[in-house]
């Protein structure tokens, strides 16, 4: 039997899972939509990964990252639950040990990570607004009636991308409508959109950061060739986009779960677990904390959201 480690990155838009062997090589991976229900998405993901996994592997560690990391960590009894920044850095470093800058644009957040000699030295994340991220792109694609998968194609066709104000999603959207209504071509608007993502990213997230090569671009948006093209154009540097650029966070957390394994085997039998969350408003004081109680197989295993030390009863 060979050891394998599962890493799951549950983002706002998509859920990514990879299973690696002890040499950090990806055995199998999957990318599905979260669709607003992380528990359901992960159940689907784990079942599919289990099918794909050759029978001579046994799972020795599980790690979770992404915005639903805590919840799914409880569901799967993960041995490592870590934030996205660390996971992305670890994942990328395992493939590109010399990387100096990681650009990451995901569904709802975007970040920049600066690395020196394999150590994170600085990072920044977008400030709590989803301007210039994947969810903005996909909502605009819907508005323009273009499938998000064809976005790259359109963007690369354009010769004169239109200028779109990229500071704020709402302004960008009204700018975009204005350009469309005044008769600009669809491909020029899409190219302008891709360029605006790049400019917004560099002005907000990358502000004041020294971007040095080698640069790796990852996250869901890195699959968009238009954005990659404009990153190259604006930074005047080469940009590496890994073929698994959308999976690097999940890869990172899988590696971390290998590093911190606790001599436990997981059977990935997710269907037999009943998992439930019950919200509740505490009436202990006027703060009225919103408490979320988590039940696994009928037993409360955790409760979040209370500010004081009052014990929460079942």
């Amino acid at each position: 039997m060979n050891d394998a480690y599962l890493g799951i990155d549950i983002g706002s838009i998509s859920t990514k899972g990879v299973i690696i062997d002890k040499d950090n090589k990806i055995i199998t991976s999957l990318y599905i939509w979260t669709e607003g229900n992380p528990v359901k998405a992960v159940t689907k993901l784990v079942n599919k990964l289990k099918e794909q996994l050759p029978s001579n592997y046994i799972i020795k560690g599980i790690g979770t990252t992404g915005s639903a990391r805590k919840l799914i960590g409880l569901l799967l009894d993960a041995n490592v639950v870590k934030n996205e920044i660390t996971s992305h850095a670890v994942g990328t470093l395992s493939l590109y040990p010399n990387v100096k800058t990681i650009l990451e644009i995901g569904g709802q957040d975007s970040k920049i990570i600066l690395i020196n000699n394999g150590i994170i030295t600085d990072y920044a994340m977008n400030t709590l607004c989803a301007a210039g991220t994947g969810s903005f792109l996909s909502s605009q694609a819907k508005r323009l009636g273009v499938d998000i998968n064809d976005f790259s194609e359109y963007a690369l066709k354009s010769c004169n991308p239109v200028k779109i104000a990229a500071r704020c999603t709402v302004f960008a959207e009204s700018d975009l409508i204005h350009k469309a209504q005044s008769g600009y071509q669809k491909e020029d608007i899409i190219a302008g959109l891709c360029k605006s993502i790049v400019l917004n990213y560099l002005n907000n997230v990358g502000k004041g950061k020294k971007i040095m090569g080698p640069i790796v671009f990852q996250g869901g948006v890195s699959k968009n060739k238009g954005v990659v093209k404009y990153f190259k154009e604006v930074l005047k540097k080469d940009i590496i986009v890994d073929q698994n650029s959308h999976l690097l966070g999940a890869l990172g957390i899988a590696i971390l779960s290998k590093k911190y394994q606790i001599n436990k085997t997981y059977n990935l039998d997710i269907n037999s677990i009943s998992f439930e969350t019950k919200p509740m408003e505490c009436m202990g004081c006027s703060n009225n904390c919103e408490i979320l109680r988590i039940y696994k197989n009928g037993k409360m295993i955790d409760a979040w959201g209370n500010r004081c030390n009052k014990v929460i009863k079942l």
């Binding site: 915005s67 870590k82 934030n83 920044i85 660390t86 150590i119 994170i120 006027s286």
Partner: protein, 354 residues
């Protein structure tokens, strides 16, 4: 109408304030209640949207106190926009048809003792000057002791062996302090608790992570306004350094800022509030080889916005990571926690992998 006094809430400093007021006068005093989400909701409902958060928090506290019967409010005032809070809050409360009066202790950035005595006399003519001085001294001493104990707690709370042992003992201490019988009794209590704090078992490694937190004073000192950032740091086993506390602001700041201005050659003006202090403290934290700096402020805090680039530059020159947070009444807590966690991870990687 009988005067019923109340004042804003700032961490546990309402204990010495209540102590002094209740000993020097026979006035009825309403202790400000703990800041809860209801306080914040009330405060932000009646505040201008782009005012800094302390305004909203203190206004919410005032409304809660008024509903309990308070009609005479005391606001502190200070060296930035805080100096105008009193007048504006009074107007807002009067517009809401609350029959109140509101006085600011500090006006135009100056603490005029004579004026404060006059205000107190107008509340209660029977207040005796000598008694007031004596109890004010006890109050100041109490603040000093509380801050000293807090400094010790910040150094060690992340490494306690029994969970909550520091917080529980602190609660016990504050309760005893509020019943102190005089200056000597207070000193004895302090000695007793200081020894007990020293006895709390800790497991502190020599090379633990050390983080300094600086920024705007209210956000720093009131835990409910910074999402209990110190608690979060402690839960990650980090030693915390914070310069700003009331005894610093009350007793040391005036002298020290002059010294800081002399030492900081590039800075000629005070820039309001704690701007100069924060720049100097950044330098000091870098010099003392702290692993990281967290700068927090309430949104729209102008003095702190002005110092951010300077702090960034100093930290970069010294190769110390710094992270900035702006807190508003509706900041998402999860977002803050993610960024903080990544910050700790980065500091750990930098410290132990080199």
């Amino acid at each position: 109408m009988d005067k019923v006094i109340s004042f804003p809430k700032l961490d546990n400093y309402d204990i010495p304030a209540f102590y002094v007021l209740s000993h020097i006068s026979s006035l009825k005093i309403i202790k400000p209640s703990k800041i809860t989400s209801k306080t914040i909701e009330l405060g932000s409902k009646y505040s201008p949207e782009f005012v800094c958060t302390p305004f909203k928090y203190t206004l919410g506290t005032f409304i809660e106190s008024i509903e309990k019967g308070a009609n005479t409010l005391i606001q502190f005032g200070g060296g930035c926009r805080y100096g105008y809070y009193g007048e504006l809050q009074e107007q807002i409360l009067k517009d809401l048809d609350y029959p109140i009066t509101l006085d600011s202790l500090i006006i135009g950035g100056k603490t005029d003792i004579k004026r404060i005595i006059k205000i107190m006399k107008s509340y209660d003519p029977s207040i005796k000057l000598f008694k007031s001085i004596y109890y004010t001294l006890i109050g100041i001493q109490m603040i000093k002791y509380m801050d000293r104990i807090d400094d010790y707690i910040r150094l060690n709370i992340g490494f306690e062996i029994n969970k909550d042992s520091f917080i529980n003992l602190k609660e016990e201490m504050l309760n005893d302090f509020s019943h102190a019988k005089g200056l000597i009794n207070l000193h004895r209590l302090y000695r007793k608790y200081y020894k007990r704090f020293k006895k709390i078992p800790i497991n502190k490694p020599k090379d633990c992570l050390k983080i300094g937190i600086i920024g705007e004073l209210y956000t720093l000192m009131e835990p409910s306004s910074n999402y209990e950032i110190e608690k979060d740091l402690a839960s990650h086993h980090i030693q915390i350094k914070r310069y700003t506390n009331v005894s610093y602001l009350l007793l040391k700041k005036r002298k020290l800022v002059k010294k800081y201005l002399k030492k900081l050659k590039n800075i000629k003006y005070r820039m309001g509030a704690d701007a100069v202090d924060n720049i100097y403290h950044t330098k000091e934290l870098c010099k003392k080889h702290y692993d990281g700096i967290i700068h927090i402020k309430s949104s729209f805090c102008t003095p702190e916005i002005a110092v951010m680039p300077i702090i960034n530059k100093i930290a970069k020159e010294n190769n110390v990571p710094v992270i900035f947070f702006s807190f508003d009444t509706n900041t998402s807590e999860v977002g803050i926690k993610t960024r903080l966690e990544a910050f700790y991870d980065m500091l750990e990687m930098r410290k132990y992998n080199e």
